[in-house]
């Protein structure tokens, strides 16, 4: 690639070189010079409306807006002359003329961009003695309130709703000084309730129904962690006061999602203080569960596990891991199963066939993964199945941003006219369930497709063949053989192809990566992969079992049929998903559950340990794109403990009872150290993670001469969560449950 010649200019007598096309405001930022602005917002269309960024450009007859002025060779810019300072001062004077000076009672006080700017650039007195335009505050939804007098009409909200979200729920009403922002349903909003408008509002005009008037920003602590809802792994900064989460946003724009959060990420945290939250261990006595002490519960668990292990062996014990527990927790659970009980009866509720993708990619797995950033950068994106804007909101956001910023082309294959269709270069609608047939056709040209579909696919194929880079994203419609087909198709494309499988839940990818699978070890290694098994055995001080275990559905069926004697469930609700409906726990001699709530599975348990949510613990999670990020403990719920703690406690009790070795990890970070050594692909740079970044895994996969991978029918079961549902957590998010939009969704 030819090196682009940099443009040289002078800003405030300092030299700077920037790529051609750079805006002056960005060039000033590069030098650390602040040019104030309200309406300028990177990534959104330019407005030049607030006039705060007026600067002097030599030879220009009047002040220019730095947000629209493109750099030119030899340009001389001054940002701090008297003329510029006056322009800013008087602009703020204008702005304040109709703005209520109620900062002491304004929800935005302390983190208001207008307040900060007046502090820095404004006049110390007010010359405005006329009556201000007043309007009453409006409630647009349970989550969004609008206070027109405070609105400075920077149009950020309108743009983010239109350009960013493609929802277009906001507009500008009236004109002149009477201009206001208007919602799409006359006096209220009907939208995705993502709250981006609130987040992006520089002043206190748009406020959050869940946060407003609860606290002052300086009374809170800010903890950045990873959203615990879908599998996209958005970074979220939790605002916490007295161990209670009051707000979630990502205003520092760090992380893979920058400022983006959907309704769940931004507002879905009230499950943490739901009244039904479990806060004490429960032990079954007769047909009832009673609160007991930690000692009693832990000892009972160890004693019973030991008893059943002695009587029936490890084969009769099953383990079900969690899509929401951290990597460390899932890792420890499979270690408990394999090392302590010598069984591969370990699985989790799989919502995407990550195993299938890694296996199909084989040796290319490491360099064919598609990060969220790469998805944004991709010039061509093929999405097969799924409804990203509804089920994988960040994926949808990244694709839309790529289309806006990089003129990316989007190709869709779907059975429904999903929202992204509006942005698609090409949309191929297929009958439900035909997605696998489509990729079969793409890969081999074989198979019978509906009338007209193959013509459209041929066009899609030739369009993709012209692209130097293609991102292929697919939902749970593609599993096993179909994933092999999609990879085969991708391999034939001349450009570089990267893949992303879309699963549900915050750590479904991590659970699979950690080997919470009956037929694969950590890093998807086959059970007979000697190198991996040896490394694990060395760390565990125990042999790794080689006989494949039962899948999660098989375990529930085995429990119901009496074959399985004990089941240890961490953060999952398998009896609600698998087995005979109404079949109950069958003849299980022991059911241990780590849970936050008394789910269907927990209700049947013998021992229930109250578990902490992701917002209440440290650890790491891996998003559906295979990017590892760190969880940081933000809130504290008295009584609940992390699965890490719980597994440690149980392991110690087991050791005391003579079963296996206790886990001697003091922190999740110590477990991660072991993971880095034992799980192929997880030996990532710690520095990136520790500074709040995301590190992509690089799964090194060895086929070891295994037969083609086949995935049993119905093993991959998507959660089909939408913007307003989130499995068990969603059922306990009061806020989300009560939104009218949530009810309207199927």
């Amino acid at each position: 690639m030819a090196e682009t010649k940099l443009v040289h200019l002078k800003i405030d007598d300092r030299d700077v070189e920037v790529p051609p096309g750079t805006l002056v405001i960005e060039a000033t930022r590069r030098l650390g010079i602040e040019v104030p602005s309200f309406c300028y917002y990177p990534g959104l269309t330019l407005q030049a409306a607030c006039r705060m960024c007026l600067i002097e450009v030599e030879k220009a007859p009047k002040l220019q807006t730095a947000c629209t002025q493109v750099v030119a060779e030899g340009m001389v810019v001054r940002t701090n002359t008297e003329q510029v300072r006056n322009a800013r001062k008087f602009m703020l004077e204008f702005l304040l003329s109709n703005h209520p000076l109620d900062c002491p009672v304004c929800d935005k006080g302390g983190e208001c961009e207008l307040q900060d700017m007046v502090f820095r650039y404004g006049a110390d007195t007010s010359r405005f003695v006329e009556e201000k335009i007043h309007r009453p505050e409006e409630k647009w939804s349970d989550l969004v309130y609008y206070d027109a007098p405070r609105c400075i009409l920077c149009f950020r909200c309108v743009r983010v709703c239109d350009e960013g979200m493609d929802v277009k729920a906001l507009g500008v009403g009236m004109r002149g000084a009477n201009s206001i922002i208007i919602p799409n349903r006359e006096d209220h909003l009907e939208c995705e309730e993502c709250g981006m408008c609130i987040d992006i509002c520089p002043v206190g005009a748009l406020t959050s129904g869940t946060y407003r008037y609860k606290t002052r920003p300086w009374e809170m602590q800010y903890v950045s962690t990873i959203c615990t809802h879908c599998s996209n792994g958005c970074k979220t900064t939790l605002s916490v006061r007295n161990h209670e989460i009051l707000r979630a946003n990502n205003r520092d724009l760090s992380g893979i999602n920058k400022e983006f959060l959907c309704v769940k990420g931004r507002f879905g945290f009230d499950f943490t203080k739901h009244p039904e939250r479990l806060k004490q261990p429960l032990l079954r006595k007769g047909d009832k569960l009673f609160p007991v002490s930690w000692e009693e519960a832990a000892q009972a668990a160890a004693a019973k596990l030991k008893e059943l292990h002695m009587a029936y062996g490890g084969e009769a014990i099953g383990f079900i891991g969690s899509n929401r527990a951290s990597n460390e927790e899932n890792y420890l659970l499979q270690r408990l199963a394999r090392a302590t009980f010598g069984t591969n009866n370990i699985d989790h509720h799989r919502t995407a066939d990550y195993t299938g993708l890694v296996t199909a990619l084989g040796e290319r797995a490491a360099d064919s993964s598609l990060t969220m950033e790469q998805l944004y950068q991709s010039k061509a994106v093929l999405v097969i199945g799924n409804d990203p804007s509804n089920q994988n909101p960040l994926v949808g956001w990244q694709i839309r941003a790529g289309i806006r910023h990089n003129a990316a082309k989007l190709f869709l294959v779907n059975s429904q006219e999903i929202k992204l269709e509006r942005k698609a270069t090409q949309f191929v609608q297929v009958a439900e369930g035909q997605e696998a047939a489509v990729v079969r056709w793409l890969a081999t040209g074989e198979g019978q497709l509906a009338v007209g579909v193959s013509e459209k696919l041929a066009a899609l194929k030739s369009a993709l063949e012209a692209e130097p880079e293609v991102a292929i994203v697919f939902g749970s419609e593609l599993t096993g053989k179909a994933i092999e087909d999609v990879v085969a198709f991708g391999s034939k494309l001349p450009g570089k192809v990267r893949y992303m499988a879309l699963g549900d839940y915050a750590n479904s990818r991590g659970a699979a990566d950690m080997g919470v699978l009956p037929d694969r070890l950590p890093g998807y290694a086959y059970l007979d992969n000697k190198a991996v098994a040896d490394s694990l055995a060395k760390h565990w001080g125990a042999q790794v079992p080689t006989k494949p275990g039962m899948t999660a559905p098989e375990m529930i069926e085995a429990a119901q049929s009496g074959k399985l004697k004990a089941l240890y469930v961490v953060g999952a609700n398998p009896f609600a998903h698998f087995g005979k409906s109404g079949g109950g726990r069958g003849n299980l001699g022991l059911l241990i559950v780590h849970e936050m709530f008394l789910t269907e599975t927990a209700q049947m348990a013998d021992i229930v340990f109250p578990a902490a949510s992701a917002y209440e613990k440290d650890g790491s999670v891996t998003n559906t794109a295979g990017e590892i990020q760190l969880l940081h403990k933000a809130a504290e719920v008295m009584g609940a403990r992390s699965d890490f703690d719980l597994l440690r406690i149980v392991s110690h009790q087991l050791e005391r009872a003579g079963v296996g070795k206790a886990f001697h990890f003091k922190t999740p970070a110590a477990v991660f150290e072991e993971i880095r050594k034992t799980v192929p692909g997880y030996n990532v740079q710690a520095a990136g993670l520790l500074t709040g970044g995301a590190e992509p895994t690089k799964i090194e996969f060895a086929k070891n001469g295994h037969a083609p991978y086949e995935v049993p029918l119905h093993l991959i079961r998507p959660a089909n969560d939408n913007l307003f549902t989130s499995g068990t957590l969603g059922r306990f998010c009061t806020m989300m449950q009560t939104l009218p939009e949530a009810e309207a969704k199927p």
């Binding site: 602009m91 010359r127 009236m174 002149g176 201009s179 349903r185």
Partner: protein, 605 residues
Amino acid sequence: MKLSPKLAAKFDKLQSSYPVKRSALIPMLMYGQDELGSVTDELIAEIGQRLGLNNVQVEETLAFYSMLHRKPIGKHHVQVCTNVACMLRGGAELLEHAKKRLEIGHKEVTKDGVFSLEEVECIGACTGAPAIQVNYDFYENLSPLKLDRLIEDLDKGKRTEPQGVISGALHERAKLETPLISKRWGIKDSHKIDVALQHGAYQALDKALKQMTPESIIDEVKKSSLRGRGGAGFPTGLKWSFVPKDSPKPKYVICNADESEPGTCKDRPLMEMDPHQLIEGITIAGRAINAHDGYIYIRGEYRYVLDIVEAAIADAYERGYLGKNILGSGFDFDLLIHTGAGAYECGEESALMESLEGKRGNPRIKPPFPAVVGLYGCPTIINNVETLSAIPSIILEGGEAYANRGTPKNGGTRLLCVSGHVNKPGIYEIPLGMNMKKFIDEMAGGMRNGKKLKAVIPGGSSCPVFKADEIDIAMDYDTVAKAGSMLGSGGMVVIDEDTCMVDMARRIMHFYAHESCGWCIPCREGTSWLKKMLDRFHAGLGRPEDIDLIAELSKNMLGRTFCPLGDAAAMPTISIVQKFRNEFEDHLQGRCAYNKSAEALIGSR
């Protein structure tokens, strides 16, 4: 929604008239409102569905335009203009009278729903001031008595014949006049194609298509030193030459007929009496830049003019002056007239394009300029009605001959509409460079009632005012600019000694505050603040520091707003404070020598 067959047909046609469907939005809202009495929820849904727009996209657009009403207006919507030209001739009194007569206030509807009343901004009837509109009908040179009679008739269901040709356009040709673009005015049925053809219409088009190349047309226009007649005075030929020749995109010609600069009413007669001259000019412009589509964006208030031009366009199609293979030249050109809906800002070229695309009339960031990125993102030239109407003359007599009619760099003739306190308000075509004083004294008939001249707004209310002793200058763009003002849009408002300049400043600022689009802070907040302050000051509640503050706030807007509207509000205000400071000081003393209610100034609010 069940539409009447007529409206359904209109909608069907509009829907397919534009390259981008959304462009039909504002006309649909206007025509729909005409039939339904307001923009109803059902109409919004119907239009949204037809154009593929959601609720908020329709709502936010319609909210921008002052002629679109969400609540029902009266069967007869009485719109009284009180802007400067009408103000000087009793517009405010007329409004007060209408309020009493109808027993309703501004934006109110009588109980029986028959009448509604609205104080409106300049309706382009300045030479017939004071003037009103009832729905789309103009009534000019009104008095309270005449208004009473009109209302009585309307109440009885009788429609008084509205004003046809704007008053002041047809007058005995003054000695100094050089009718060129107004040459067919006054000829009976001059708007009809046969009459126009008899009097030389479309000869220039024939010449341009058959004897000239696009380059030579542009050259000729350059030679003519024709400058934009809309207000900014940019050289027309130069503007046309900016259109990239190698662009693969379609190119467009837009005629800006959104005449709304207070004091200006020259495009109205040009279109109502000689639409074919305009059509001819636009088509030649299309040829010059190799465009095949043209639009006339006409202000919503000029509906009867729109009807005249629309009929003329249909006739031109029929006779082969528009459409495919015009005059056998192989050149194709389509032309459509498009209604606005009440927004001064849409006179700004980029805001006009936004509006033509069916959006709020907010201006666009420049550069890029319309010649490169204009309508639908394509190269576009946009010119005023008068500018384009001059093209046929330039083609026929040659650029040089046209230029020689004026002064160097200020070619040709232009229309001046003179209103206010003169004996003969009217629209006059004069060569550029004529002396202003001479013009007022001789052509406009001098001051009414023997009063003394106090001030002149030379070219629409955006221009700094001249004092009586500053007008002995040549009226060309450069001389007027040198004297500290602008020739602007040719809307000259003459102000006599009995006029309160504080009131004048107040009324001017009311206009800009009303018309500010709200996009940028300094204009939105500045005009609103100044309006409030001038209201207070004029009512006798001023503070000594307010005088300088008025000027300072205006200066703080000047040159810092997104588009020239902020400058337009600031410039006259600064000049009035500077030149008539004594009147402001008088107000501080509770005196206003000119205001009838002057004795009761203090505390009168």
